[in-house]
């Protein structure tokens, strides 16, 4: 959090040097200040802010690629008369614990690869999803846990990586 404030101060200093505080100068200053902070990361020491941004970019990129893929697949499936669906209702054990993380994971699952979150068990350890292309049940669980949940966990608690 300390470095976030430092980043904002750098952005303000940049726009003061440009002799005009407006939105575009502040944004440019913020980006430049962030690059400076990333470059001096080793000197500043570990911080969740500086590492978290990569995890966030990773998560967002993965999310968009997956949403493109799943939509194209759905288009093929809907427009051709043959049904390629192999649906199952699958119980996925959860590693994420807090309510906010479960909500985020459930929403991401609903929007990405051929799966729709139905409900979370009362003890918050299992998420039930309806998967559309699930010939291999374990592969779906591996995909959800290994790709989506891992990225979300790394983003939510990046401090673990620094140790």
């Amino acid at each position: 959090m300390k470095y976030f404030i430092l980043n904002i101060i750098l952005a303000i200093i940049w726009s003061l040097l440009e002799e005009d505080i407006n939105a575009s100068n502040l944004i440019i200053g913020f980006i430049l200040g962030h690059i400076v902070l990333q470059l001096s990361r080793r000197a500043l020491g570990p911080s969740p802010y500086l590492y978290g941004i990569f995890k966030a970019i990773d998560l967002v990129l993965y999310f968009w690629v997956e949403i493109f893929k799943t939509n194209l697949r759905l288009v093929v499936d809907v427009l051709t008369p043959i049904n390629y669906m192999k649906p199952r209702i699958i119980a996925v054990p959860l590693d994420v614990t807090s309510d906010a993380e479960i909500t985020a994971l459930a929403n991401l699952i609903s929007l990405t690869p051929g799966s729709l979150s139905l409900d979370v068990s009362a003890d918050r350890h299992v998420l039930y999803i309806h998967a559309m292309y699930a010939e291999d049940k374990n592969k779906v669980i591996r995909d959800v846990k290994g790709k989506l949940e891992r990225r979300l966990l790394e983003f939510a608690s990046p401090a673990k990586d620094n140790s």
């Binding site: 049904n83 209702i89 068990s121």
Partner: protein, 134 residues
């Protein structure tokens, strides 16, 4: 009106048409929810970005961003509520469905969902007798 925004809006309209066709011809309610959640939100994203590119004013772009964020935040929640309600209403699953892990996991009285280990069996003769003993 420039060509890029027209093409973006056409792609958006196409995805929304695919969503409607999917809702029309998918065999069971869960797969209809798939089509409704994914393709429709994707179509709105393209349509709105095309319109925002067409106007390209700060007020309109902000509104477009608000619409996209709102649709992307609410569509999975609505799908979750509908899917849950459908499971309670004992909506028939498609005959091609391979397995159902959620069977007998709901407590029929309290609507509480169990984890992997324990099952809520539907009330049998044995459990009725147990209640009478109490």
């Amino acid at each position: 009106m420039n060509l890029l925004s027209e093409i973006l809006m056409f792609i958006g309209a196409f995805f929304m048409f695919v969503a409607a066709l999917g809702v029309f011809r998918m065999p069971d309610i869960y797969m209809r929810l798939h089509a409704n959640t994914k393709s429709a939100t994707f179509g709105v994203l393209f349509l709105v970005s095309g319109a925002a590119w067409h106007f390209w004013e700060i007020a309109i772009v902000m509104r477009a961003i608000i619409i996209v964020i709102f649709i992307f935040a609410t569509a999975p929640v609505a799908a979750h509520m509908l899917g849950r309600a459908a499971y309670f209403a004992k909506a028939p699953v498609w005959k091609g469905t391979l397995s159902d892990d959620m069977k007998d996991k709901y407590d029929p009285k309290t609507h509480e969902l169990a984890g992997i280990q324990k099952n809520h069996k539907p009330t049998t003769a044995k459990s009725k007798r147990d209640k009478q003993d109490d």
